[in-house]
């Protein structure tokens, strides 16, 4: 553990960017316009600084094996509760912040091209930088309370960005939905921290001492705390039952979707569970619970994604599905596999979203895949990178998605969780199917109009190409031993894992072949069905799946209407009748009393004089007797 003064600058760089951009934006709208280039330089420069600092620390860690810690000051000191404004740069945190800053930076660059000419250009970059800063606070936090600041920060920024075009009511509603669904999770998270603090008593609240003292706490309190923290993770990482906000979050501009889905926000839940790995390893049964939540979320989202028509919603459901895989891994104790999937997913999902954004911009904000196919535009770089992303997410070797997904499924198989393994396999099939359905409709299905070439900005295509290289190559970072790799990510994060993969090479080969075959069959089915699909006769949006299993409607009836009824009851009955009645009646009593007293004031001068006389006489008599005059 080494002290360093660099760690906090990873956070401060984007935070300063946010403040500068915000200030300049105010100047821009109040006084005189500032050219977009200023916002672009600040907006993309600061994440780059953060990335370079992280890289420096990372290279040093590789060399020396140090971990870093920086305590700025004691933030709260109440009795034996001691909360320091401290930041921790251990293997896990640096691993996360490496790709958060890198992919975040690329998305910032992409956003320059995407948002060009938008009125709120400066505001957008201010929010964007703030988003990144919040995520980095979350990642680098040394104690759960600081982590919670970042946790709330990403929630706030996602709200601001989803409702970015706030003049449209739908966007505002989507923002509200994201914020409220996250509040439910955040409340669980907060309770989880409090429970953890109670369970551990007077221990200093930072991860190192929590881990050291975890054995002294009562198991039932720890289990409760672990569950509540996981409720927070469900909200942030869009797992059943708190996933409803994620598809609606597509209302925001596409770079935001890319940032939320790839680098920040949704990965926070997985990261948090990994951060509390010492807690989850100790609780019996919760791992399986997490894994099942993940498995069902993965399956559920994949089924819904097969019938969606909005390009961004398909991607949103696929994110939820992939997050399910990550939770399977962390639930079973294979934290490094889960985080490796976070990494590879960040690359290909950012790329897919950016590609989708490029298509949407080229076709003037058309998001329906059939309509996009009808007015097909020639976008060579975007279609090529899109294909790479689709292959990567489907799990075809040697693209990155294969290695990370296969590691998770192998883990489930080894742990004897065959049901989870089967669900995972079926989800992999569906993933390949719905991703290629989208690809075939968008780029392959015949179109009589022919193509029109659309110019795409360099700032959009360059990040895409970089990410494409990542999406192909990231898998080799954790190449399994049987394929001649060194498990670099697993080694880097080996401290977290509670179990190891140890299966015979034969089983491993068989599993790999099975998962490739499953993915390939998914692609084949999609090819049969959609490669020659007539895009002028789009599928009808009917049935259970196209309507997302009516979950939104169900939640609307059960939670929203119920909450509305309760609110109305409190408003009309408890507030109006009981509380107001009590307060108004007491005030009426005073008014009545006042009116009675006021009748003394009858404008009769002689009456006043008599009163004065009586009063003065009374005072005189009192003085006479009391002072003994």
């Amino acid at each position: 553990m080494m002290d360093t003064s660099l760690l906090v600058w990873i956070i401060l760089a984007p935070l300063l960017g946010a403040i500068l951009n915000g200030g300049f934006y105010f100047y821009h709208i109040k006084k005189k316009p500032i050219p977009e280039i200023v916002f672009s330089i600040i907006g993309t420069g600061t994440p780059l600084i953060a990335f370079l600092i992280t890289l420096t620390l990372f290279l040093d860690m590789v060399d020396t094996g140090n971990t870093y810690k920086q305590v700025l000051f004691t933030w709260l000191h109440i009795d034996n509760l001691n909360i320091a404004m401290g930041f921790l740069g251990d293997n896990l945190a640096i691993f996360m912040s490496m790709f958060v800053t890198f992919i975040g930076w690329l998305i910032h660059i992409y956003a320059i091209g995407y948002m060009r000419g938008d009125e709120g250009f400066g505001k957008f970059f201010a929010y964007f930088n703030l988003f990144l800063a919040s995520m980095l606070i979350l990642v680098l936090a040394d104690n759960p309370v600081i982590l919670f600041i970042g946790w709330e920060g990403v929630g706030l920024c996602s709200y601001l960005l989803i409702a970015f075009y706030y003049t449209d009511k739908d966007n505002v509603l989507a923002g509200n939905k994201a914020f409220i669904a996250n509040r439910v999770g955040d409340f669980g998270f907060l309770l989880g921290i409090v429970t953890l603090f109670f369970a551990l008593g007077g221990v200093d609240l930072n991860f190192a001492s929590l881990e050291a003292n975890i054995g002294n706490a009562s198991p039932s309190l720890l289990a409760l705390s672990g569950f509540l923290l996981f409720v927070g993770a469900m909200g942030k990482s869009a797992q059943i039952p708190l996933f409803v906000w994620l598809p609606d979050a597509m209302a925001g501009p596409t770079p935001i979707s890319a940032l939320i889905h790839a680098a920040t926000m949704v990965t926070a839940g997985v990261y948090m569970v990994s951060r509390f790995h010492f807690l989850y390893t100790g609780i019996e049964g919760i791992g399986i619970f997490i894994a099942y939540i993940g498995a069902f979320s993965a399956l559920f989202a994949a089924i819904i994604a097969t019938r969606q028509q909005d390009i961004k919603k398909i991607l949103a459901y696929s994110t939820m599905s992939q997050l399910g895989y990550m939770f399977i891994a962390v639930g079973l104790g294979f934290y490094s596999s889960g985080l490796f999937h976070v990494l590879t997913h960040a690359f290909f999902k950012a790329m897919l979203f950016m590609g989708a954004g490029g298509i949407i911009i080229a076709l003037h904000h058309q998001q329906n895949i059939f309509k996009i196919a009808q007015h097909r535009a020639s976008l060579p770089i975007i279609s090529a990178t899109f294909l790479i992303g689709v292959i990567a997410i489907s799990g075809i070797p040697p693209f990155s998605g294969f290695f990370s997904k296969d590691a998770i499924l192998a883990a489930a198989f080894q742990e004897g969780q065959y049901l989870i393994w089967l669900i995972g396999m079926f989800t992999a099939f569906l993933t390949a199917y719905y991703m290629f359905r989208m690809y075939f409709i968008l780029f392959i299905a015949p179109n009589k109009h022919g193509k029109s070439y659309v110019y795409t900005s360099r700032t959009i295509t360059i990040p895409l190409v970089i990410l494409a290289i990542g999406a192909i190559g990231a898998g080799f970072l954790n190449l399994p031993a049987i394929l001649g790799g060194e498990h670099m990510v697993d080694t880097w994060l080996s401290k977290l894992n509670s179990t190891q993969l140890h299966m015979s090479h034969l089983t491993e080969y068989v599993l790999m072949i099975v998962s490739v075959a499953v993915a390939a069959s998914g692609i084949f089915v999609a090819y049969k069905k959609y490669a020659n699909f007539d895009v002028f006769k789009p599928e009808e949006e009917k049935g259970l799946i196209a309507n997302k299993f009516y979950v939104d409607e169900f939640y609307n009836i059960v939670f929203v209407q119920f909450a509305k009824k309760i609110s109305r009851f409190i408003d009309k009955v408890i507030d109006d009748k009981i509380i107001d009645g009590f307060i108004m009646s007491s005030s009426n009593q005073f008014i009545e009393f006042g009116k009675k007293v006021a009748t003394i004031q009858n404008a009769n001068v002689r009456f006043y004089a008599a009163f004065m006389l009586i009063g003065m006489s009374a005072i005189f008599i009192y003085l006479f007797f009391s002072l003994g005059l």
């Binding site: 002689r606 004089a609 008599a610 006389l613």
Partner: protein, 104 residues
């Protein structure tokens, strides 16, 4: 030699008459005269004590009171004239503008 008590007694009687006049009578002139009567009762008291103690200070106060009462009379009469003009009456009980609940 008339005793000090007698002077004090006369002065108190005068004062009481003044008080009763203010309280009991409705004519505004009578009230004014009653107020003057109370003032004079007090000045009489002061002058008595001045003589008794051979001290001139109360006499100075008395002169002050008389002169101020003269000035006050001028104001008082003009107010009475204004009141009379507004309601054509000198009955104090009909001037009830400041009563609780009275509309201006």
């Amino acid at each position: 030699m008339i005793s000090l008590t007698s002077y004090a007694f006369v002065s108190m009687i005068l004062f009481s008459i003044g008080v009763i006049g203010v309280i009991a009578r409705r004519n505004i002139f009578i009230i004014y005269m009653s107020i003057e009567l109370m003032l004079n009762a007090v000045t009489l008291f002061l002058v008595t004590f001045a003589r008794y103690h051979f001290n001139m200070d109360p006499q100075i106060i008395t002169i002050m009171v008389i002169s101020i009462a003269a000035a006050e009379a001028a104001i008082f009469f003009s107010v009475i004239i204004l009141l009379y003009r507004s309601k054509k009456s000198l009955d104090t009980d009909i001037f009830t503008t400041l009563k609780q609940g009275e509309k201006l």
